[in-house]
């Protein structure tokens, strides 16, 4: 009986969550329903309610921005997992405890390196005037092309996704008993098959978690597309910033924010359901 009653220990965290997340989000949602008069700063206190701010998001151009954000984020998150998993496996299974600690420290340090420093480092190296820029142009890659800029933005996202995913997967892989793999091999499975049929399924929850970390980080990225996107490859976050900070149309910015939030929640929910179902089967 006692176990079903909420513990008072939840109270501080709950209040904090209510004050710092639920209430601001509720305010944002209400703002998204306000009428905006062009030329003013935000909506008036007595502005009437309207659905226009959401209706204008049904345009093809918004779908284009959304698709661009999701596409580049998906690309970066998938590549991030593909690169991070073998690294995490190698660190967890092959390295001595001393080297493992060093590797762990290296990835943690990477997480703390300023996003601006990394982004400008990429821009200076691979941008139109960087040393690799001229090499790429020599082999026929247009460094001012839209495709190249999208790849550069994805590379900027990978700077965060790889260390984040590696650290997440490290814990997952370490918690899988290596003797299970050995048992599969004793029973006749080749190494690759034992790995794919035993280790991988047991790591799927961790893989999903690190994919979701990477993906949610990517779709809400702001600085990376702003700098590497050259104003031509823009994410939804950049649109939100423009609406709030540049043209002061708070209701429209709030509507885009609510849509982005709902989309992120939906993706997390659907992917979690799918992975859980496949694991249960």
């Amino acid at each position: 009986m006692k176990q079903n009653t909420p513990s008072a220990l939840y109270l501080p965290g709950g209040l904090l969550f209510l004050g710092l997340f639920v209430l601001p989000m509720a305010g944002l949602f209400i703002e998204s329903l306000r009428f905006y008069e062009p030329g003013s700063i935000g909506s008036a206190a007595d502005a009437p309610f309207t659905l226009d701010n959401y209706a204008e998001l049904l345009k093809a151009s918004f779908a284009g921005f959304l698709w661009q954000t999701v596409k580049v984020s998906l690309l970066a998150s998938v590549v991030g997992i593909i690169l991070a998993f073998p690294m995490a496996y190698w660190i967890a299974r092959r390295l001595s405890p001393q080297w493992r600690s060093l590797a762990l420290g290296f990835f943690v340090t990477l997480m703390f390196l300023s996003v601006l420093v990394r982004t400008y480092a990429l821009e200076l190296t691979f941008g139109a005037t960087g040393p690799f820029g001229s090499i790429l142009r020599e082999i026929g890659i247009a460094t001012n092309g839209r495709g190249y800029i999208q790849v550069l933005v994805a590379a900027g996202l990978l700077h965060y996704i790889i260390p984040m995913s590696t650290l997440t997967l490290l814990g997952t892989i370490q918690s899988v008993d290596p003797r299970l793999n050995e048992a599969a091999q004793v029973l006749g499975a080749p190494n690759w098959k034992a790995h794919l049929s035993v280790t991988m399924p047991l790591c799927m929850r961790g893989v999903l978690a690190s994919f979701l970390f990477g993906f949610t980080f990517s779709i809400s990225a702001f600085v990376i597309p702003m700098i590497l996107g050259k104003g031509r490859v823009l994410f939804i976050s950049n649109l939100i910033y423009t609406r709030f900070s540049e043209i002061a149309n708070y209701p429209s910015g709030a509507a885009i924010s609510v849509v982005l939030f709902a989309l992120a929640m939906l993706i997390v929910y659907v992917l979690t359901r799918l992975v859980n179902r496949s694991i249960q089967q």
């Binding site: 905006y36 062009p38 030329g39 003013s40 700063i41 935000g42 204008e56 345009k59 151009s61 918004f62 284009g64 921005f65 941008g127 139109a128 005037t129 247009a142 001012n144 839209r146 702003m226 050259k230 104003g231 031509r232 823009l234 649109l239 423009t242 709030f244 900070s245 540049e246 043209i247 002061a248 149309n249 708070y250 429209s252």
Partner: protein
Amino acid sequence: MTMLTRRQAMQTAAASLALSSVGFMSRAAGTVELTAVEWGGGVIDAMKEIAAKQDKVTFNWVLHQGGSGAILPKIKATWPNSEFDYVAGWEGSFNGMLKEDWLVPVTVDMIPNLADIPPKIIVKNANGDWMAVPRAVGGIYFAYRDDICPVKITSIDDLFDPSLKGKICWPGPTQSMMLQLVALSLHAGGDENNLEPGWELMKKLAQSGNIGRIAVTDTDFTTSLTSGETVCGFYSEPQLTDVAKAFPVTRLTKQEGMPVFLYQSGFAVFQNRPNLQATLDFINFAISPEMSELYAEVAGEAPLNTKAKTPDALKHLSFTPEEFDKYVYVPDFNVVLTQQDAWAKRWEDEIAPLL
């Protein structure tokens, strides 16, 4: 060896503290700290030099991030508790502040050096009150780097030259109040009230592939041109001055068919601040003939004080009445301001996918 007792040590420390406090308090009593918002680059350098030439006020400088309109939501968020004593701006951002009724009206009695500023250029509210203090005039126009631009640009049509592929730095939809679109529109027979021809031309320019970078901040523009990533663009004077410090730049301010927009850079004084008199006194000092000349030299904007001399480096921004009629276009800023939201959205709809 002289020994110091604990009591003596305490007394010495207390005396030292009291003496240093007297010095600090006498300095603090004569100095007021103001919080002001300025542009970066040459403008903030100029204002720091001006501030250093007086000792009545010290500054907590805040820089504009993005366009000058970006500060407006931040002010609105804390209003009526303004965090800033003055905000540097231009007609576009001043109009937004006027609409919100944030500003202190100014007069010659309050700022005596205003008597030397042409009244025609001063921003006024519906009652005709002066609502901002102009300090200089800047220009927004087309320019290119002589040393690396593959073509001699003499007309907007030249921007479509295939040799400029990826070489144009174009202002983003929230930069320069979209006057770049008005410039295209003027070329194609429209204006700010009829922007359709401008949009059509903008689509063609975006489709041409000649735009290499969309500048969303002033720094984007300067960095792109100085690094050689792009070679030409449409931007404002302080940024072009920065580029011209290191590279030869042709400024198309007196080229038929290449419209020039002049704007006034100035001070908007905010209500509900404790140091109004000190702010007004500093602004009066900053627009004096000597300080106007200093500002022009460092910031690259021509002085508006009629008693100040325009530096030779800014002669391209000084127009005879005939030249003014021929090259300078003065848009209706009320139209420009109220259309920002619609124009930015249309940019997202029609132009961004083509870039």
